[in-house]
């Protein structure tokens, strides 16, 4: 079981959290093409290795934050605020 350090509540077990997927994506403008919207909605890098992703402490403070995590080892490299740039 992973232990994730919520930026508000400190380290807690993984089953208190929900992963919200890839972070730092920019929503395209309304005038942009179907391709741009398709890319934004569905296409992902899905890296084998370091991944920047959003997590929510659902069964805790309910707040969203960012996690830099390795998708192979599950090692958490950094935890940072939802609006902060990737470290």
């Amino acid at each position: 079981m992973m232990q994730i350090r919520c930026i508000h509540c400190g380290p807690r077990d993984e089953n208190e959290f929900h992963c919200g997927g890839t972070s730092h994506m920019t929503r395209p403008g309304l005038a942009e093409s179907d391709e741009a919207w398709g890319e934004y909605l569905f296409f992902r890098d899905n890296p084998k290795g370091l991944h920047f992703e959003r997590w929510r402490h659902t069964f805790g403070c309910g707040q969203w934050f960012n996690v830099a995590r390795d998708t192979v080892t599950h090692e958490i490299r950094a935890v940072y605020a939802i609006t902060a740039p990737p470290p």
Binding site: M1, M2, D13, E14, N15, H18, C19, G21, D34, E35, G38, E39, L41, F42, F43, R44, D45, N46, P47, K48, H51, E53, R69, T71, V72, T73, H74
Partner: protein, 417 residues
């Protein structure tokens, strides 16, 4: 020339101490070039090679596999086959697959131990009952047999279930697809490998793609840890590692890789002769021919390439199984594993061309790739051989994520994720 497997050959072999056995398939070394290279030696890749040779007469084919054949998700599933999908496109695709499975032992001269022991879905609420009536009716509209079951009928099919009214997950009824069941997973991989090898296909293990060779924007081969191999066309059938290969080739997929875990108990005497699926909890339970109780359920819902799975989800799977079958509570777990599955937003596969010329892909089966091995191979072979998508695969193109014409089985058929 291969031995044909039969009772007669076994009897004949008995006279000579069974020393007539030869390797089931050739462990090949890579040649300089092939007409078609398939990246990924799991069920889908091997089936693709077999159908390229069998249906299209293309025998200059190499299946290249990073590890050993059938060592990825083909060896890491719960061996369930079924075709209880909601939408016509999916129903056609998966039922074609089940029909191929029904004839596969004979076709491949390899006993895949298909056991059509019935898939039984159980309803725990009025909502579940309504949803299942709709689901079973949709299947029948698509020409696939399905039967609604009352609570006592579920009990007749699976008496080990907790059918008492005070059960935490009360069973109010359900439905069954009697043609659903299980098949032996490594027999499927080895059966296809043996049959493909006999038709001249090279199966190359321990061969990892490190680069796609491109000329003028088209893929013309691959560089591997065992040297360069040229090819007219290349197909990818790499499940959870599809995005890694797509990145090497220079495009992206609408895929996220998750760990899907399963486990088996110690073997016990026969107690369960159907496959039980509880969509409400995501749990599916069956008993293997060896007697182990095979359990699986929901994904570990965060991106992962680690073939294990977390303890939190393991607890949830075991918990759900025990609510259904309280009598299993004293069993010990014997093995647990996870496969890395390629989940797309509509839980439907992608079979067809990629944005790179001469490069084709079969991916996106997510949590349900095993049952689709025959049709995945059949349709990828078709597009590799002809350049055109098979009619069954036409709705399942990458382009649907741009046009928005999704086939949203994730929500529709109540599958567990």
């Amino acid at each position: 020339m291969q031995n044909s497997y039969s009772a007669w050959s076994l009897l004949k072999g008995a006279l000579t101490g069974q020393r007539h056995w030869t390797a089931a398939w050739r462990d090949a070394t890579p040649k300089a070039s092939y007409e078609v290279i398939i990246v990924g030696g799991g069920g889908h890749g091997l089936a693709t090679a077999y159908y390229l040779a069998k249906n299209h007469g293309i025998t200059s084919v190499a299946v290249i596999e990073r590890g050993w054949i059938g060592g990825g998700n083909t060896g890491r599933n719960t061996t369930i086959v079924r075709s209880n999908y909601l939408y016509p496109e999916s129903a056609r695709l998966y039922d074609f697959s089940l029909k191929l499975y029904e004839g596969l032992s004979r076709e491949l001269n390899f006993n895949i131990m298909l056991s059509q022991r019935a898939l039984v879905l159980v309803a725990h609420s009025r909502h579940d009952l309504d949803a299942m009536a709709r689901w079973a009716n949709a299947m029948r509209m698509n020409g696939i047999e399905a039967e609604l079951l009352s609570r006592s009928e579920v009990g007749e099919l699976a008496p080990a279930l907790d059918l008492s009214p005070q059960a935490r997950l009360p069973i109010l009824g359900g439905f069954t697809q009697r043609r659903g069941g299980t098949a032996r997973h490594d027999a499927v991989a080895w059966g296809y490998a043996r049959a493909a090898s006999a038709l001249g296909v090279d199966i190359i293990q321990n061969c990892e793609v490190v680069e796609f060779i491109k000329e003028g924007g088209s893929v013309v081969g691959v560089n591997t840890n065992r040297g360069s191999i040229r090819a007219g066309r290349v197909g990818i059938a790499a499940a959870g590692h599809s995005s890694v290969l797509a990145k090497l080739a220079g495009f992206r997929l609408p895929v996220t890789s998750y760990a899907l875990q399963a486990m088996v108990s110690e073997p016990i005497k026969p107690v369960l002769d159907t496959v039980i699926l509880s969509p409400g909890t995501g749990a599916y339970v069956s008993q293997s021919d060896k007697g182990e109780i095979v359990m699986g359920a929901m994904l570990d819902l965060f991106p992962s390439y680690a073939q294990r799975g977390s303890f939190a989800v393991k607890q949830a799977i075991v918990g759900a199984t025990l609510e259904l079958f309280p009598s299993f509570s004293r069993l010990q777990l014997m093995r647990q594993w996870a496969g890395i599955v390629d989940v797309v937003h509509d839980s439907s596969p992608i079979i067809g061309p990629t944005p790179i010329a001469n490069l084709f892909i079969n991916c996106g089966w997510g949590t349900g790739g095993f049952k689709a091995i025959p049709v995945g191979g059949w349709t990828l072979a078709h597009v590799l051989a002809t350049g055109n998508s098979h009619s069954l695969a036409e709705p399942f193109q990458l382009q649907r994520f741009i046009t928005g014409r999704l086939i949203d089985e994730a929500a529709a058929s109540g599958i567990a994720h």
